[in-house]
Each structure stands twice: as structure tokens, then as C-alpha cells.
């Protein structure tokens, strides 16, 4: 009886991959993700490099070269302005690329902000339940019941839109969905035995919330948040279109398209070309986001 039955020795110490790594790998294995990644990398590289390399100023007017059509379209196109020029002779490609910079900046920071706020509120509501939950969720419902865009244009319409205020407004208007998802995930995690196990071991609530549950449930949510980067970029462009985004002369997708709308009949490319550009970026982000979401569902469904 004194001998101890040692269970099977690990063959080669299996360094099992963490769930988030597995999600990345699975997503990366899909064609959609790769296509999206390649397109996005190319466009982001162009947005970072082309405006300075080409030396073209996105806000410099050049009346002589005004209303030039894109390559191979109509008469008077030129290699120096691949997407044509607008009514003031500004290069559309550079303007769109600079717009992309702002769009990405606002999209990413807004998503991070709403993810953080939503996750925290959902974590508290889901973990503590009871009164905390009721109060936080009523607040969330109230917030959710005002269309985000109405809230955003109300605030930005009556105050002056700047980049930080746009990020703040969109981020604060977008957290409720995250709070809801987080709350229900935390609620179901909290019922699981490993949480009970930690409680019996004597762990404090804070320790369980931030050291045990949060690291587990945040990454899967963050993966899906990629989809919201695209959504927020659309919102940013909507605001710009309504004249409530980053103010001219800084070019953004929204204000370029709003400008181009006035010249729709004689220079259709001003409104449409930046849009195609934007759609390309958004589709690449959405493809990546969707494959991440699927990978997550597959891995969580299977394990």
C-alpha cells in the first residue's frame, strides 16, 4: 500500500495552446480571413505611406486640375491622379487615404473604449447580480433605447465635434450591447464549478472577477469586437456626411462624399470613388471579424 500509483507520464509535455491562440489559428486558416488581412494590410500601408511619399497635399487646391476623372474613365484623366480630382482640383486618392487614417483611428479607439466600458459594467452586473444588476441593466436599457446615432448627433450637433469628442461620444453610446453580452456570459461562468471552487478556496470576489473570469471571457468578446471597428468606421463617416464629424478641410470619407454629392451629375466619381474605397476597407475588416467570430463559435461549441 505504500507505493504510489503514478499516472501515465506525459509523453512529450503537451504545451496545449490557449483558447485565444486556437481561435487565431483557426481563423487564420480560413480563406476569408487571409483575403481580408491582405487587402487591409495593403490599404493601411498605402494610407500610412502614400500621402507622404507622393508628396501630394490633400488640402491643396489646384483649380487648373479640377474635376479630373479617375483612370480610364471619360476624358482628361491622368496618371498623377489615379482616382481623379474634386471640384477644387484636390487629389482624390490622397484625400481618401488620409480619410482612412482618421477613420481607422476613430474606429479602433471607439471600439476599445466601448468594449472596456461595456465589459466592466457587464462584469459587475453579472457577477454581483441582485440590486447591482437591476440598476446597471436599467441604465443599459435606457441607453440602448435611444438610437446611438440620435444621441451622437445630438451631442455633436450642439457642441463642436473634435476627434476626442467623437471618440468619446461614439464609445459611450455603443457600450450597452457589450454590457449585455458580458453580463450574460459572466452570469453563466459564475455558475460554473471552477468559480465555486475558487470561492471555497477562499478567493475574494475581486480576485475571481479580475483574475479568473475576465481573462477568460474578454478575449472571445474582443475577437467579435473587430466587427464593431467596421461599424464604428461607418458611424464616423455618417457623422462626417452630416457635417458632424472631423471638420473640413481635414478630409474624411463622410465629408468627401457629402461634398461630392453636390457634383454628382457632372463628376460622379467624387462621391462614389471614396465610397468604393471605404467599402473595400470595411469588407476586409468584416471578413476578418466574421472568420474570427466563426472560429470562436466553432471552438466554444466544440469544447
Amino acid at each position: 500500500m505504500s507505493s504510489i500509483d503514478i499516472t501515465t507520464v506525459p509523453v512529450a509535455r503537451l504545451r496545449e495552446r490557449k483558447v485565444s491562440t486556437r481561435i487565431w489559428r483557426q481563423a487564420f486558416a480560413s480563406v476569408e480571413f487571409r483575403i481580408g488581412l491582405i487587402v487591409l494590410v495593403l490599404l493601411v500601408a498605402a494610407a500610412l505611406l502614400y500621402p507622404s511619399l507622393s508628396g501630394i497635399d490633400p488640402v491643396k487646391m489646384n483649380i487648373k486640375a479640377k474635376l479630373m476623372p479617375p483612370l480610364f474613365m471619360g476624358e482628361g484623366w491622368s496618371w498623377s491622379h489615379p482616382l481623379g480630382t474634386d471640384q477644387l482640383g484636390r487629389d482624390m486618392l490622397v484625400r481618401a487615404l488620409v480619410g482612412l487614417r482618421y477613420s481607422l483611428l476613430i474606429g479602433v479607439s471607439t471600439t476599445v473604449l466601448m468594449l472596456l466600458v461595456g465589459a466592466l459594467i457587464g462584469l459587475f452586473a453579472g457577477y454581483f447580480g441582485g440590486k447591482t444588476d437591476t440598476i446597471l441593466m436599467r441604465l443599459t436599457d435606457a441607453q440602448l433605447s435611444i438610437p446611438m446615432i440620435i444621441l451622437a448627433i445630438t451631442i455633436l450637433g450642439v457642441s463642436r465635434p473634435t476627434i476626442p469628442s467623437i471618440i468619446l461620444v461614439l464609445g459611450l453610446a455603443g457600450w450597452p450591447v457589450y454590457a449585455r453580452v458580458m453580463r450574460s456570459t459572466v452570469m453563466s461562468e459564475r455558475k460554473k464549478e471552477y468559480v465555486r471552487g475558487a470561492m471555497v478556496l477562499g478567493a475574494t470576489d475581486w480576485r475571481i472577477m479580475f483574475a479568473l473570469i475576465l481573462p477568460l471571457v474578454l478575449p472571445p468578446m474582443a475577437f467579435v469586437a473587430v466587427l464593431d471597428i467596421a461599424r464604428m468606421m461607418i458611424f464616423e463617416s455618417v457623422l462626417g456626411f452630416l457635417g458632424l464629424g472631423v471638420q473640413p478641410p481635414t478630409p474624411t470619407f463622410g465629408n468627401i462624399i457629402a461634398d461630392g454629392r453636390k457634383y454628382l451629375m457632372n463628376a460622379w466619381w467624387i462621391a462614389t470613388m471614396p465610397g468604393i474605397f471605404l467599402v473595400l476597407v470595411l469588407t476586409s475588416i468584416n471578413l476578418m471579424g466574421a472568420s474570427l467570430e466563426r472560429a470562436r463559435n466553432a471552438i466554444y461549441g466544440g469544447a
Binding site: 500500500m1 499516472t7 501515465t8 506525459p10 464549478e193 465555486r196 471552487g197
Partner: protein, 603 residues
């Protein structure tokens, strides 16, 4: 369809082989089944018995595929003619599975689905007739108030009730063959025993042949005319139950029978002991707990634990047994301080756990620990084994980093986990290894009391035995006290010196091991013992003791004894007054009026 002499044999399987990819699952299975017979197929998990059931029900999905053989049903080969096979499934060949809870659409009433199924396979039957037949069969499987139940939804049925409904679903088309795949597995013993009895009755009444697939030898022997043993995809033997038990032909069957723990006879039960001391380490005094639920008629109180009362002695193995819903999990949460009782006291070394401050409770937790039931859900999914073990030390700020690491490694080797696993995630561990890890995590704080909540239920017989050995060794070395919370009578019979039986939140009987099994003082205990699956000659015959019906809802308990509605001996007083635990001498207590000296003469 049967045309007399020619098809005397209903089902004839010859050389059936099934592969999954290039792995052989079934290897040359051959057997015959006559009409009206019950044939059990038993084997451990992985023996291929469920694959066999699914093959016969034409329900194989990739990667499984038939690689050879014939399945003659009423003389026609099902494998050669899949269209014919499909047309039989649900009509002539019916299937009942082991998961009644998920077997029907939750958004439709049970009745509507029974009618839908009958009319799908027999479109010639008018709806009104189908409905009558469904209700008639619901009555036949003894579902109370069948007309009302017909219009209820699946979620309103209990597990046992749902399994009866699924049997109705199978029998409603008058099939010639019923494949019953592990149908008693998720049910409590007393309910499982009822279902088995029902199945035998129905077999006599409806002249359906039954292929009864199960993993428990005692259940198979109870249920059938003949038992066929499946091992690693092959039929190793086939005999009548009596012959099989008396003279198993194959080594595997022999080992299977030898390994079975026993309730009354001797056997591998070296662990049974008398109580070590009579010094209580934990005393439960009149503890109760109710939960509020929002039911159909507003708020309701579920009385999960009612007036529980017992002592656990230091160095002892104490068992708490009961069926699902008896309140043992709630009691566990109270004992471990996860929840506070509504009333009563839980004294651990003289200190009340139920009213201790949060801080004090955290300190107390170093001295009593819990080992949880689910080997998969109880470990944090993304921590390495070493980190899991060091976590409790970190929580209580014990030792330096190096000391914690040494301690974790020491505990790992003590419970039989290779120290080389220190940095691995628990993902690759088997259920048994995971439970060792759970035990290691609980004992790293060097507690005095370990509460085992169904710790062994997820493990197979062999693994259970190994862990029980481990527990005994650890107890000898560290002087642990164990509380085993379990539904498994054979397990507590093997290890516990004293046992409490719970029914609807109450401890109805508390007695030393031998006394409980040889001289139970409560009718519920007798019922439980009569339903326990065992190959031994029964001390308590199901005919006398088997309980009818199911426990009443803990929401609106009638006054008096909670067991009165199912008790074969209940009399007027039982329905008016709730009996308290009374001493029957020799540390045995039972809550039943039959034990009062003069009342006993009454009955």
C-alpha cells in the same frame, strides 16, 4: 407484415462490421432476436453498443459507416435497401435514447408531438384516433392525469416522466422491435427501477421485441431474458442472466462480475470501518434553507434543506446519500459556507460557519475544503496545473514562490500526478487524473475536513477504486475527515462508517453503515435499497418496497411526513405530523413513527 413460419426470427444480424474512418468499431457481430424477447446488450463505454443500436435504427452518421455484414429484419436486409430501412424507422423499428430531456421539441406540447409522430409514419390514422391512442398509452405507462399531461410541454415533465413519454412515442406505432439505448442511465435508482418494471410489463402486453442496451450488468440482468456481452466491438458471450452470473464463459465477463461492489455480501470492501472517534468535528443542528423562485403563480419558496441534523466525527468517513433533488447539493453549499442557512447552526470545531464573518470564513476555509463533482467544469480552463495548485496558497498568502512551487510538486506526487505535468494545462488529463488534481488542490492547504461532492460519480469502476485507495492513504497520513456526498449506495457502502439518507431536504435516517444496510429504520431507505442495482439476492424485494410515483415538489410541501405520499406504510398520523429523528439505539436514528415502540405494534 409478419407472415408466420418463414419469419420466425425477427432480427438476424450476421457479421456486421462498422468502421469509423479506418478504426473498427464493430467487428463481425452476429446474433438473432426472436419476436417478443428482451435481449440485453452490455459493455463498457467504447465497446460499440451504442453504435450497434444506431446501426439497427438506420441512424449512422459519418465518419461511421457499415463495412460489411447483413441485418435481416423480418427477412429483408436493411443494409442493402436503405430506403426500406428508412421507411421502417419510427414505425416497425422504434428507438428510445438515454437523453429524454432533449428528445422532444421544447416549443410544442408532448401530445402534439406524439400525434405528429404517429401520423408521420402512419398517415392513414386520423388525428382524433391518434390522439386517443396517445392518451391511452400515456395511461398505460402510468402517467398520472394523462389527458392533462397530453397538453403539457416537455419542460413540464420530470426526467422519469419524460422517459415514459418517449416510450409511448416509440410504442405508439406498434413497432415489432424497440431499441432501448441506455434508457435508465440519467434517472435516479428508484425511478430507473420503475421504468425497468414498466418495460417488462409493456413487453408482455404489446408483444414488442426489445433490444436493451446498457452499461450496468445488474440492470441488464434485471431487465432481460438474455444478456449479450460486447467487448471491444465483438460479442464475447450470450447467456441467460442466471447462467451468466453463475458461470461466465469469457474472461472479460468474469472480471466484470468479480469487480462489482456488493451491498450485503463480502467482497472488496476492506474500507468499511467503525467510527474512529465520537468527537464531532462538524455538527449540523436543525439547518434549513429555502430558495425563492418565480413560478407561474408569482413567488414561491423551494424548501431545499429542512431541519437537517447530524454530527460528523473527527477522522471519520461520513456519507450523505439521496436522489436528485433531495437537497444534498444545497446542503453542500451550506456546509462549505458558500451560502448561509436560513435557520439552524453549522458548527465546525465549535464555531458557527453559518454566521461567521466573511473574513473569518476565509480563514476557516483553510481547514475545510471541498472537492467538486464535475472533473471538467471544476478546474479553471486556462491555467497550468502548477498554477492551479499554487492558487490557494497565493490566496491565503502562504510561503514564498519557491516554497509554493515545492509544495505543489510534493502534493502532485502524493496524489499520483507526475510532477512533469507541472506546466501543462489540464486539457489533456483524463477524468480520473482531473479528480486527483482537484483533491490535490483541496489538500494543499492542509485542511482537517474534506467534503467530496459526488467526486467519484464521473469515473468508471476501476478508477473509482484507485481513488478510494488514494483517499484512504491520505487519511492515514494526514488524519483527514471525509464527508462523501453521493447518490451511489454501493460507493458509500464501501467507504463510509456512518451514513445519512436525505429525502426532500431532510435527513430521514442517520445510521452506522452495517445497520443502515441490514436493518434500515425508514421505509424510504428500504425503497432505495430495493432499487439499488446489484447482482446479489435482494434483502428487500422490489415487490414489497419499490416506491411508486416521484417525490412531490419541494415548493408546496404538504404538512406531515414528506414521504407519506409514496410510503407503503403511511397512516393518518404521518399526514398530519412530521416525525423527528428518533434514536433506535446504537447510534442509529430514523425519522419515522414506525420506530416508536408502541406505534410499531399498530402496523
Amino acid at each position: 407484415m409478419l407472415d408466420g413460419a418463414e419469419t420466425r426470427t425477427l432480427l438476424s444480424v450476421r457479421n456486421l462490421s462498422v468502421m469509423a474512418g479506418d478504426r473498427t468499431i464493430l467487428d463481425g457481430i452476429s446474433f438473432d432476436l426472436q419476436p417478443r424477447r428482451i435481449l440485453s446488450v452490455i459493455g463498457e463505454s467504447g465497446s460499440g453498443k451504442t453504435v450497434l443500436a444506431r446501426t439497427l435504427a438506420s441512424w449512422l452518421s459519418p465518419p461511421l459507416r457499415v463495412s460489411g455484414g447483413t441485418v435481416l429484419f423480418q427477412g429483408r436486409d436493411l443494409l442493402a435497401d436503405p430506403t426500406h430501412a428508412r421507411s421502417l424507422s419510427g414505425r416497425e423499428i422504434a428507438y428510445v435514447g438515454g437523453n429524454p430531456a432533449g428528445a422532444l421539441d421544447p416549443t410544442m406540447t408532448v401530445g402534439a408531438q406524439l400525434v405528429e409522430k404517429l401520423r408521420a409514419v402512419r398517415p392513414d390514422i386520423p388525428a382524433a384516433k391518434a390522439r386517443d391512442k396517445a392518451i391511452q398509452l400515456l395511461k398505460a405507462v402510468r402517467i398520472p392525469a394523462a389527458e392533462r399531461r397530453f397538453n403539457e410541454y416537455p419542460f413540464q415533465y420530470s426526467g422519469g416522466m419524460m422517459q415514459r413519454a418517449m416510450i409511448v412515442d416509440a410504442l405508439i406505432s406498434d413497432p415489432a422491435l424497440l431499441i432501448a439505448d441506455n434508457i435508465t442511465q440519467p434517472l435516479d435508482v428508484t425511478v430507473a427501477a420503475q421504468i425497468l418494471k414498466l418495460m417488462r410489463d409493456l413487453n408482455a402486453e404489446f408483444s414488442t421485441a426489445i433490444l436493451f442496451i446498457c452499461s450496468s450488468l445488474p440492470v441488464a440482468c434485471d431487465a432481460s431474458d438474455e444478456v449479450m456481452v460486447l467487448h471491444k466491438g465483438r460479442v464475447v458471450e450470450r447467456q441467460t442472466p442466471a447462467a451468466l452470473i453463475a458461470s461466465p464463459q469469457h474472461g472479460y465477463t468474469y472480471a466484470l462480475i468479480a469487480e462489482l461492489p456488493t451491498l450485503w455480501q463480502g467482497g472488496p470492501d476492506r474500507r468499511r470501518r467503525v467510527p474512529a472517534t465520537e468527537r464531532p468535528i462538524m455538527s449540523v443542528r436543525g439547518v434549513s434553507k429555502a430558495y425563492e423562485t418565480r413560478g407561474k403563480s408569482g413567488k414561491a419558496l423551494v424548501q431545499a434543506v429542512r431541519n437537517a441534523d447530524f454530527d460528523v466525527f473527527a477522522g471519520d468517513n461520513f456519507g450523505i446519500v439521496g436522489e436528485s433533488g433531495c437537497g444534498k447539493s444545497s446542503l453542500m453549499r451550506l456546509l462549505t459556507g458558500l451560502e448561509r442557512p436560513d435557520g439552524g447552526r453549522i458548527l465546525f470545531k465549535g464555531e458557527d460557519v453559518g454566521t461567521a464573518s466573511r473574513k473569518r470564513l476565509r480563514e476557516l476555509r483553510r481547514e475545510f475544503q471541498l472537492v467538486l463533482q464535475d472533473p471538467y467544469g471544476s478546474l479553471p480552463p486556462q491555467s497550468a496545473i502548477g498554477a492551479i495548485l499554487e492558487e490557494p496558497l497565493k490566496i491565503h498568502r502562504i510561503g514564498t514562490r519557491a516554497e509554493r512551487r515545492d509544495r505543489a510538486r510534493a502534493v502532485m506526487s502524493e496524489v499520483g500526478l507526475h510532477p512533469g505535468l507541472y506546466e501543462s494545462l489540464p486539457t489533456g488529463l483524463s477524468a480520473g487524473q482531473r479528480q486527483r488534481l482537484n483533491v490535490a488542490r483541496a489538500m494543499i492547504l492542509e485542511p482537517d475536513l474534506l467534503i467530496m461532492d459526488e467526486t467519484l460519480s464521473a469515473l468508471d469502476q476501476t478508477e473509482q477504486g484507485k481513488l478510494l485507495d488514494l483517499f484512504e492513504r491520505l487519511q492515514a497520513r494526514h488524519g483527514f475527515t471525509y464527508i462523501f456526498i453521493s447518490h451511489d449506495l454501493t460507493m458509500v457502502r464501501q467507504v463510509c462508517s456512518r451514513i445519512a439518507v436525505m429525502y426532500l431536504g431532510e435527513a430521514v435516517e442517520v445510521a452506522p453503515n452495517d445497520r443502515l444496510f441490514f436493518d434500515p429504520g425508514h421505509p424510504y431507505t428500504r425503497g432505495l435499497l430495493s432499487a439499488a442495482p446489484t447482482l446479489e439476492p435482494r434483502r428487500y424485494r422490489p415487490e414489497d418496497c419499490l416506491l411508486e410515483g416521484e417525490p412531490p415538489s419541494p415548493i408546496d410541501l404538504p404538512p406531515g411526513c414528506a414521504f407519506a405520499s409514496r410510503c407503503p406504510h403511511a397512516f393518518d398520523r404521518c399526514r398530519a405530523e412530521n416525525p423527528a429523528l428518533l434514536s433506535r439505539g446504537g447510534q442509529a436514528l430514523a425519522a419515522c413513527f414506525l420506530n416508536e415502540p408502541h406505534e410499531a405494534t399498530h402496523v
